[in-house]
Symmetry: C2
Subunit: 433 residues, 2 copies
């Protein structure tokens, strides 16, 4: 891990360090993904079976997971894990339920009523990655708000293991969250199926969930095609930024940096501290803790690209963090609440020494699907709202229309949109007659 | 305008009619826009001056609009238009102010507090198209919520006329809305400038506003580059769908269809009615009203691609409308409120005979930046929220962490993310010691 001092680093160097170089899309991937998208759009299920054989190395007869399979998963999951999942569901539900907004209605002038309705998005597609371990926590973070929002149809796509089956943990969590439609298909082909529809998989209105670079590329491409399918957010490698003062515990900080670093070789971890001796101790702790980690190779690669900053004050550290706009921000400082109102750009924030990032990844209640690559400047993490849309309404009375008429006609005339003005004039005339 | 009956039309034909064929992006445009984006990214202001000369046919020395110019605009605008704009500002402000959300805070379990803060997006870029008439209403719809949200820096880009100046109406509205940073640059080059920044124009966090196909393509491309810049929403040609029963006034309907049709040759207008004689009368009214319209050529082209449906009931008409997911929906039926809860997909809805679409385009209070091309299924129109983001926070006490610890450790172990569990275990151990 490289160390820098804020006082000696130039702006240009800082921009480069904060630049998220790793999120540029590979051209080879883009062209392969485009080919997959076009094939699934053209050949539907047939293409899905072929890609599953090619990429997941298994031959399927059916991509629909049967109810009996899903139900059977409950028998395999250990009680302790069931209890853990139960706890997570309670907490995540409580925080997301509280996000329910009130619909508003305003009489902007006499006889002119404007109001809005908040509705669930009808059909949503959840993507859950496969890989070395079944990431069932993703199911929690997507399925719970989708259910709470009241989406009519919720489908879940996830790649099969080499044996052709979906991990029991994923099936179990899907079942307890009330997801009944599960398809054994992963990668860019799953995104294509949800974007365009196939004989088996319905076209959805919005696609949610993380994935490898093929999945991410596929989501970005379908979102840019103007095909009517939205995506949750752009995705890049995961990030954590820790701000610590001399009160912080170096072992805690090291454990937080490592839990980010183990995600993947391109995960980014940053520590900003006002205490140079803490920095040394954190490095020592990392060396100590990393030894026993099963994913230490991955963590090591990630840490090589990460860095430590020595700053002059917590104020300055927060300014830097706002500039970086981290996905996760951990404040291990005295009185962390004091700084809450200075934080301008971040996905999710962890306050104080007893709030490690991993509680938010699994069970505290907040969502773990968060903006990366600096998108925290403009994009929010997943919430109940991500599964909803707002429709505005207006109802004018006769009198209301005559109250607003001159304003509309005047503006329409100035924009040279005469038919816009006519729609008001014709009504006014009929009113008089 | 072609006429169809719901009873005889096939599903396939319906899908085709509802398909928004015109929103596919032209390859020639994409490659030109990509070139413009790369040039502005590389050469900054220099590229902006060159493209302005090439596309807007005027040579500028400076792309910053001077304060004196903006202030001078007030002298040129007629009093009646000033009053109209003032009325619109009051109504739009009232409806968008009401959209302010409460921040929530939940103790999901003892010692585990989750809360959210709602913040403005720091730097936003508003694009206002030029063209035959200055569309200053766009300034209202973008600037008012941006100001209400509290965005720190709001910039506005708009192309110059052939004389190199920005229309006074745009300057005036920008000024009364409190926008102080205006740049005379349009097209894809303006989007590039806001996405990457130049010597003069700052890189923004999110880009808003409509535009021609070059602007739209540029927005979609920068949004797909994972460069940290978000856009308001995908944009396609404008649309209206009118549902009418025998109580409707054919002249009113005709005026609404025409006010949509005059927008552009690819605007889409649809009428669904339960009354075949009304259909005939609407067609007659259109022929009558179109004659005097300055933009009748455009309206004519648009109407050629539009269609009328005969349906069996209002219920069925709403089902069709939900399937189409129109940008604008007008209900000219008895008791329009009765149907509000059946509407699932629409951008903005106009209830009853005294609520023409044009009131929402200018002054009722609702936003006129709305999802097209079927995106109303998953995307909301612009609102206060579009200029905000949410940050989630969590704060655990010692006790809170021990309450949630087993759930987190159990789940992290199952996902084989041992460092995630360690971040909790290390803290627990230190607690005991």
């Amino acid at each position: 891990m490289k160390t820098y001092s804020i006082n000696s680093i130039g702006q240009e160097k800082l921009d480069r360090l904060f630049g998220r170089a790793s999120c540029k899309r590979n051209r080879g991937i883009t062209s392969l993904v485009k080919k997959i998208l076009r094939n699934v759009q053209k050949s539907g299920d047939k293409a899905l079976f072929a890609y599953t054989e090619q990429f997941d190395c298994c031959r399927l007869n059916n991509i629909c997971v049967q109810r009996s399979e899903t139900a059977g998963s409950a028998k395999i999951i250990p009680q302790a894990l069931k209890r853990a999942i139960g706890r997570a569901i309670l907490n995540i539900s409580a925080f997301h339920k509280a996000q329910k907004r009130k619909e508003i209605s305003v009489a902007t002038m006499p006889g002119v009523k404007c109001f809005q309705k908040i509705l669930p998005i009808d059909t949503v597609g959840l993507y859950v990655p496969g890989g070395t371990a079944p990431l069932f926590s993703t199911v929690l973070m997507l399925a719970i708000p989708a259910k709470l929002a009241g989406c009519t149809r919720i489908i879940l796509c996830t790649p099969p293991g080499k044996d052709g089956a979906v991990a029991s943990e994923i099936l179990y969590v899907a079942q307890v969250c009330g997801i009944r439609e599960i398809y054994t298909v992963g990668g860019a082909q799953a995104i294509a199926a949800m974007a365009y529809g196939t004989e088996t998989i319905p076209k959805v209105d919005k696609i949610f969930g993380p994935g490898n670079q093929f999945v991410t590329a596929a989501k970005m491409i379908v979102a840019s095609e103007n095909s009517g399918v939205a995506i949750d957010m752009p995705a890049g490698p995961s990030e954590v930024l820790v701000i610590a003062d001399s009160s912080a515990n170096p072992a805690f900080i090291a454990s937080d940096l490592l839990s980010q670093a183990e995600h993947g070789p391109d995960s980014q971890t940053i520590l900003i501290t006002t205490d140079s001796s803490l920095m040394t101790m954190v490095k020592k702790e990392i060396s100590k803790q990393i030894v026993t980690l099963p994913r230490r190779e991955i963590a090591m690669q990630s840490l090589q690209k990460s860095f430590l900053f020595l700053a002059n004050s917590i104020d300055e550290s927060i300014v830097l963090s706002n500039r970086y706009a981290p996905e996760h921000l951990i404040l291990q400082v005295r009185n962390p609440e004091k700084w809450v109102n200075k934080i301008r750009n971040a996905g999710s924030v962890f306050l104080g020494r007893w709030s490690p990032e991993s509680v938010g990844d699994y069970a505290s209640g907040t969502n773990h699907t968060l903006p990366t690559s600096g998108y925290a400047r403009s994009v929010s993490g997943l919430s109940l709202e991500s599964f909803q849309k707002t429709i505005t309404f207006q109802k004018l009375t006769k009198k209301g229309l005559s109250n607003i008429a001159s304003a509309v006609i005047e503006m329409a005339d100035s924009e040279k949109l005469e038919a816009h003005g006519n729609a008001v004039k014709i009504r006014l005339l009929s009113q008089k007659s």
